[in-house]
């Protein structure tokens, strides 16, 4: 058989090597079997007595034609006829009928050869199809082995049918160990006990809880360790059987990334607190200087009075010392607030009193405000006070908004800062910080909460952006509106705790 296309590459070529050799063998077989048949005929039947019989050639034609295909079949047929006709023993009297027999024999031979050829094609097709199937299967296996998701196939009784190599790595079981086992060994309690029920419920009701939806679940490794997974399930019906394919993705790494992100965010929030305090350093220094000056005055005055230790003077000194102590406590309190505010700590949400939180934040934020002649008004709605928040973070937002308000009013004639709490939409706590300052230009209004957007000479433009991050981290919302009396009102919401919920918490 000639090569049909020499350019089809090595793969094809090597695939053809075996058939070529086989074909050559069949041609050789055609010659050998035919000559063998003829020789047998010569041995068995004395040719002088009887005319040559083509019967002896039939096996050769049948074998080579049926199994070897068209070429070897035709070769054998032609060879038989030639040998028969050329046979020296053939009596000349019978030549006519002999020729007719040979003709008929030839037709049968050609028929067998054609039939054999068809058979050969069918055989080749079947072989190619098998090859195809095998390579497709190999593809599928390599896919299953390399997808990052672990693939586990179970039947409708929950028995594991297939367990991919990623699944082996993820769960620590080998496929051989788990195939035939119930899939519940891959999950911790209480899922482990409930899983059969889940399948039964689905088969009965057809209600999908996870199939095609997916959810985050927990898996259990062979060593008993549990880990978060993202699980999606597909349903397949194959050969009248129902199977479920589970795709399992390990979420450990995902959660670590998430955690790292949160860590960095809290870092940033902390740094911006430090920055805020840095910007207030001069005002804070002044605030600390006041009690220190008072203490110095009381002590030096006392020293002076003690040169004449009269009863009256001692009484005065005692009072002075009491007041000096009070003042040193005042200084200490400022420092403690400052330290609490800048301390590096894990964010932690607790039930806090909104009123107390705001009052404390104001104490820091309003440092220096009195000297600027700013009138401050704090109004609290008594019906809404309990919030679940990270206190320092919300105080940071308050401080940010109040310092902004104070700065905005530096050049205004009217300087009123009002902080109000109210009941917001859906029972949330609404906190408003309103000033009578210069207001916000329309071009700034759009990018108010974007990082690095600032109108201040000394400002990074991160205060409001951080405030938004914090409020959104508390599932609240923050926005700005023009204050009806001139200036700006910043508002934000926080989830409030109503009394019934409080009872639950204890």
């Amino acid at each position: 058989m000639p090569l049909r296309d020499p350019r089809t590459g090595f793969a094809r070529l090597s695939g053809l090597v075996a058939p070529i050799n086989e074909r050559v063998l069949w041609y050789i077989a055609a010659v050998v079997l035919t000559i063998g048949g003829f020789t047998l005929h010569l041995v068995v039947t004395p040719l002088r007595t009887a005319q040559a019989d083509l019967i002896f050639m039939v096996p050769a034609i049948l074998v080579t034609g049926a199994l070897g295909g068209l070429g070897p079949g035709l070769l054998a047929t032609a060879l038989c006829i030639v040998l028969d006709l050329l046979s020296p023993t053939t009596p000349t009297a019978y030549f006519g009928s002999h020729l007719a027999t040979a003709g008929a024999f030839g037709v049968i031979g050609i028929g067998i050869a054609l039939f054999g050829e068809r058979l050969r094609f069918a055989r080749m097709n079947a072989a190619a199809r098998t090859q195809d199937l095998l390579s497709r299967e190999a593809h599928l296996q390599s896919l299953l082995a390399t997808v990052p998701e672990a693939v586990v196939i179970i039947d409708e009784n929950g028995v594991i049918q297939s367990f991919s190599s990623s699944a082996e790595r993820l769960f620590g079981y080998s496929a051989a160990e788990v195939i035939g086992q119930n899939v519940r060994i891959l999950m911790p309690s209480p899922e482990r006990e409930a899983h059969d029920g889940y399948i039964r419920r689905y088969l009965q009701t057809g209600q999908r809880h996870i199939i095609g939806i997916g959810r985050v679940a927990v898996g259990e490794r062979k060593d008993g360790a549990t880990f978060p997974i993202d699980l999606s399930i597909a349903e397949i019906i194959s050969g009248g059987q129902r199977y479920f394919t589970g795709y399992v993705r390990d979420l450990t790494e995902h959660q670590e990334t998430q955690q790292r992100l949160e860590q960095m965010q809290s870092e940033l929030v902390h740094i911006s607190r430090l920055t805020a305090m840095g910007e207030m350093a001069s005002a804070l220094a002044h605030e600390l200087n006041q009690p220190l000056s008072a203490i110095a005055n009381y002590l030096t005055g006392s020293r002076r009075l003690l040169t004449d230790a009269s009863e009256e003077n001692l009484r005065l000194v005692r009072t002075a010392i009491d007041t000096a102590v009070e003042q040193s406590l005042r200084a200490g309190q400022i420092i403690r607030r400052l330290r609490d505010f800048v301390a590096h700590r894990e964010p932690e949400k607790r039930i806090e009193s909104l009123r107390k939180l705001i009052e404390e934040a104001s104490a820091l934020a309003l440092v220096g405000a009195k000297e600027l002649g700013i009138r401050v008004r704090l109004r609290f709605e008594p019906a809404i006070d309990r919030v679940i928040v990270d206190k320092v973070q919300i105080q940071q937002v308050m401080l940010n908004l109040m310092r902004n308000a104070i700065e905005a009013m530096e050049t205004s004639d009217r300087r009123e800062l009002s902080v109000t709490t109210a009941i917001g939409p859906e029972g949330a706590a609404l906190i408003e910080v309103a000033d009578t300052g210069c207001g916000i230009s329309s071009e700034m209004a759009d990018q108010l909460f974007l990082p690095f957007a600032t109108t201040k000479v000394h400002g990074m433009g991160i205060g409001l952006s951080i405030s938004r991050t914090i409020i959104e981290g508390h599932e609240g919302r923050i926005w700005a509106e023009p204050n009806p009396g001139g200036g700006t009102a910043f508002r934000f919401t926080l989830q409030a705790l109503v009394d019934e919920e409080l009872g639950d918490v204890g």
Binding site: Q290, I295, A296, N297, Y298, L316, A324, E326, E371
Partner: protein
Amino acid sequence: MSADPVVHVIDDDEAVRRSLDFLLQSAHFKTRTYENALAFLNALPDIPSGCVVTDVKMPEMSGVELLRHLRHKNLRMPVIIITGHADVPMAVEAMKSGAADFLEKPFDDEVLLTAVRSALASAEDVSQREIERTELQQRFATLSKREREVLQGLVAGKPNKTIAFDLGISPRTVEIYRANVMTKMRAVSLSELVRMTLIAGFPTEQGTETRPVM
């Protein structure tokens, strides 16, 4: 010195106000306290004499504004200004407006009491001031030309780098001149140096002679 000189203390911080009151009384001064400049001005018609000790940073009217207001009304009552956070421009402005003295909180009692005594004295007798001024002028005379130039820059509230640039010398050199000036003038702080400069009537950078305080 009149028989009963009164020291009028004005500070919006109650603790500081009361402590000043206590300190002055311990030194046997008669005192009256006011929580802001307006309260003092309201009481002014009934005030016969004395001196004023006032904080700078106060709502509505600052210490320096009060001082200008008094001078505007031609009241020569001496005013001592105290501040929690002194900066040079503020000190210069206060002294130019005619403050008797400019003190940074917290201060040693003697510094305040001396200032009050000399302020009360100066209301009747200028000789005490004159003696101080003469002494300061003698100290100024010991300064070199470069040192005077650096001092002018400092009094104008310029940072070292700017002074260095203006004079065409390195900031390091300015630091050395600055240290020399402080030593020669026996000044503890920059604000004290500014106070001395203004009391002595040392020429400021603009070439205008600062008005000697009465």
